[in-house]
Symmetry: D2
Subunit: 366 residues, 4 copies
């Protein structure tokens, strides 16, 4: 019921604002005996960290995670793990001039209307900084998954920036770590760099599409009807700031297909069913088939831009605004590690739920 | 935690299979004093009911809802409302010949793997029949919304069938109830009828895109981070059978926009902020702006088709299958009232959550 | 969040009023493959059924349970199990004369104040009839426990009626099924029969204390802090109508003990730790020790009595009331099977939660 | 579902161990605009703090609370409030000699069996230190209640120490703050001081009974069946370390009463119903009557005593143990502020739930 929690058995509650003393994640339900070290979590946080190259915001935060509880002698105890990240580079004065104006496309107006609180220092709870806490929690989930489902890997990457998509024929898993956009298409990386440079000069921003593929999936994770694996993945991704659409497998394009095109044919492999294609994105009826799980989502362009936009003030006067300060021309870039983290949390949760209700898969084939 | 429930304060648990004695919804958390009559709920069920025209499955069920609890002298008592729909036309023998084979694109294989139960009579819990329970529950939510947010309307309609989208310039709210596809574009309705006739003859099926627009929205509904209004809407829609993608406002297309294109400018209207456009789909930071909320989703084509497809049996032998029996060439049609019902449940839930935590919006503008 | 549900992974939502068409339980999260037959559930319902002897209400209901979903070919499918019990003997006219007056000690006044609904036909949702649904759900839990924890038994019995407690030296497990009070003390049964006859003649009622002992407990069930096994047992028992106190092990008497008296000493048995005593009631730090779990609760006397009591009417006038109709001189008797059912639900839930988070106990002794 | 959370809309998750770097509470669902200052919370923490007089443990911790999020310019923002308390006085070496032995009556054996983790430095998550986090969270709840239910007061006090109860005829509200036991009976305070001195000298400990009375209660809070106000209060109290029994109103003694004794008669007062007595403890059918809510619970004696007790080691060898270090001869004393805090959390939660589902009470009397 908690509005700031996600997950059922593996349950993460994030807290903190961009300009308060700290933010973090309270991680409940982690199995005991899982190695949890700050350094390992830091690896993932560093991926998300801003200011690493010219394509992400110049806000510089060490984003150093501290483990305050739930870990003893390097392993989880089974009790809540508190992960805290201090805010250090707050420079709130940059935002001071917009304390009375609402930013078009930004949540400051709805937060004000609902809560009657105007934290003029920054995005408060709606800031992308909140996602650092998710990445830390996702790091814990990854470690637990390593023990419970060896061989499972979760890989996020960018497949579209603005109107420019990748060419799937150039898809190269090894390329993903080689460019600042985490894209599997080297040519796209080169093109996007030029495109983004242009955008950055005009002070504008652009959206993106991120895809996460989970390989080494076991069959049987998920459940009808509201505990579907795809439902939880969709909710997890939609809960990330600026996400406006979520797809599983064929996604929106499934509308265009006929039943004969869409139905992945089934053959018998050496270890169980194999499929001729993966339109389903690895999930049927809310339950994993054992194929790769493929989830995709769009990230809207940030509203913090240097273009003058019409808006109003708290007192209702019409005015204009330009958002100065540090900006991400394509916030979608930093959504990649966040999406991986959310996928890790959802998968671990479903592994635990499955074990809880079922123990192990009950139906044999062959 | 319940895998078959959705909602926080207004909480619906659906139960039942397509070939058992009955199915239904246990509706908890309805405010007291809401008119709940079987006839009013029946109106919505009749919209979803199959067999109404040649474009939906010929399975004929009266889908008569019975109210077993939670209502006294025609109004809700504030205690759980049990809504039951008897299954009457089960004709399970039609499906008997596929009891050993898995249907490509169908959940029977994942259900078998996970649960070790093979209900050869039909789709069991993954059947579209489960959505009748949602529609009944949504009828209750609508009545409560009438009292709490007078003027709010929820309208679902089809905007794409297969590759054929509507022309937004022909959008006519009044047309929606005039054609079997609940589409606002009369020309599209005519085109789709011909297209679907062709598909039906070949025994094939096709996907669709449905859109739901909520008009008369109050500002302030929703919450960060995992209780976002868009998160809950996305989860609600993704939980519907056969849905593969969900979008809010610009949806996946948000990736293509620049920040200056995407940010809806704000002006001051007589009763509060008004917006120059609605790329956001009425939600910023997870909280409603007061604009129309726009949610859209794709429905994949049904896997029950007359085309021969390769598959395997429970014992692991490779074989082929043709699914005889009654089919929906475009199951997306019947998803329209289901989506409206889910939207109604989510909105009522957020109205109650908002009242619970906040009382009434605290921030004034102007 | 649902106000009418209990349990985490094994989750039961009860619904229905004493004078509506039916009541029941929606049981979600049952493992698949558990034998669930109406006859087996009926055995437990018949234990709770009123009108079986002169010491319980003369309302005669067959209390026949129907399984509407979640079971296929006699075993659970892993999807929601709907258990419905029709109300047949409603005779609501007996209660008609009290439709304007509130009964002292009865929930009709608080229901009216909160909900503004006055179901003058009977206790509505606060009626003891609601507990029939719990007993049915508990029957499902028992079957699942049989598979998961063979050897575990749950036995409820009465240890006090009014001021008259049992003599623990006469405790005989085999006696429990031999008398109408489910008490392990044959002498107490005889004494109480005479005592209750006297009370019945004066139209008065009396309270009782029920104890439930779980034998064959595994160690390791439960969790800190709010998911403690004792917390969930206490909540489960306190949620039963008319319960005013709950105890684990020494219960309220723990206040009187010194630390040296209270701490159960530990020795090593052939299969693990054994204890010299069981002051703890089988639970330490919210987690089971493997000893018998002992929970105890008091049931207040029913407020439906033939003594004239002062009260007020809905319009606020002072008046008097005598509750005619059918009464239970000691409703505590019928709480025995209800308490067993609640204990079964809590234990199964914790077995599933334990398996979900931990798999199997991780710490070895010896 | 989270095992370390409590509450529905006002939801508190505590985290942290006695010997880690910090512990705290993540408080979600607090209404916005509530004054939350560290100093105000500190007032309640100082009440619970050990080492204040010779009757509580000599562990000295400043127990200084830091507010890390959810508060802006001194008021709650409506987003999660993170309350952190650093552990400073850990002196873990005191406990080193018992790292291999289990303490009779202590949770170290069940934690080991379940989690396979042995935090030899102290009680870990089962330590009474965890309750500091609850007290901090309760301080937030109190501030919110001040706004929402002015006039409501929550007062905890000790009514029994070991076998020695208070004399209700000497009950004096003003006395409660005047003695180290928070007892309303000055004579009992004097007697207990002498009694406890004796116990302390022998290195033994003793149990206690605490009572919490809520005055100024509104009618209508709570809900059937599993969201009963008394169910939630019982669960809240039973979740406190060392609690073994919980009572509402007459509690276990309700068993001894007849229906004519137990039913509180109703008269009409100037502002609504008034009652001749309060056997019910202010709750009927799970919903508050408007009378004082009275909840009572027992605290077992701490297992950390200087008496030699038989036990076993991790490797299963039989041995003996004496627990040296700092001890509370009567831990019940420090449970008083904890119980008040839990009551505050439960009440605020039910105020929000009530407002969410109902808005305001719907039934008028008179």
């Amino acid at each position: 019921m908690s509005m700031n929690s996600f997950g059922h058995l593996f349950r993460v509650t994030t807290w903190g604002e961009s300009h308060g003393p700290a933010l973090g994640a309270t991680v409940d339900g982690c199995p005991p005996g899982v190695p949890v070290e700050a350094e390992a979590l830091q690896y993932w946080l560093d991926k998300r960290k801003p200011g690493q190259n010219k394509f992400t915001t110049q806000r510089r935060e060490p984003d150093q995670v501290e483990i305050l509880s739930g870990v003893f002698e390097g392993v989880s105890t089974g009790t809540p793990i508190q992960l805290m990240i201090r805010n250090t580079d707050q420079r709130s004065k940059d935002y001071g001039d917009i304390s009375e104006k609402f930013r078009p496309g930004h949540a400051d107006i709805t937060y004000w209307q609902k809560y009657g609180i105007r934290d003029y220092r920054g995005g408060g709870r709606s800031s992308a900084r909140e996602t650092a806490a998710r990445v830390a929690a996702g790091g814990v989930a990854r470690e637990a998954l390593k023990q419970l489902v060896p061989g499972l890997t979760i890989t996020g990457y960018m497949v579209q920036m603005g109107p420019h998509g990748i060419d799937r024929d150039r898809f190269d898993w090894d390329e993903i770590e080689q460019n600042p956009f985490w894209t599997p298409d080297a040519q796209a990386a080169a093109d996007w760099a030029a495109y983004l440079d242009g955008l950055r000069k005009t002070g504008d921003s652009v959206g993106a599409v991120i895809e996460v593929t989970v390989r080494g999936m076991p069959a049987g994770l998920g459940a009808p009807i509201y505990g579907k694996l795809d439902t939880d993945l969709a909710a997890a991704m939609m809960s990330i700031n600026a996400v406006k659409g979520v797809e599983i497998g064929e996604g929106m394009n499934a509308a265009c297909l006929t039943g004969s095109d869409n139905a992945d044919e089934i053959r018998m492999g050496p270890e169980g069913p194999i499929y001729s294609s993966n339109h389903a994105g690895g999930i049927l009826g809310g339950i994993s088939t054992g194929q790769d799980v493929v989830v995709r989502f769009s990230v809207k362009p940030t509203s913090s831009i240097l273009t003058t936009r019409k808006t109003i003030t708290k007192s209702g006067e019409e005015t204009e605004i330009i958002t100065k300060g540090r900006h991400d021309p394509c916030v979608g870039i930093r959504a990649v590690p966040v999406a991986e983290a959310m996928a890790a949390c959802v998968l671990l949760d479903h592994v635990l739920l499955h074990r809880g209700q079922i123990g192990a898969n009950r139906g044999q084939i062959g």
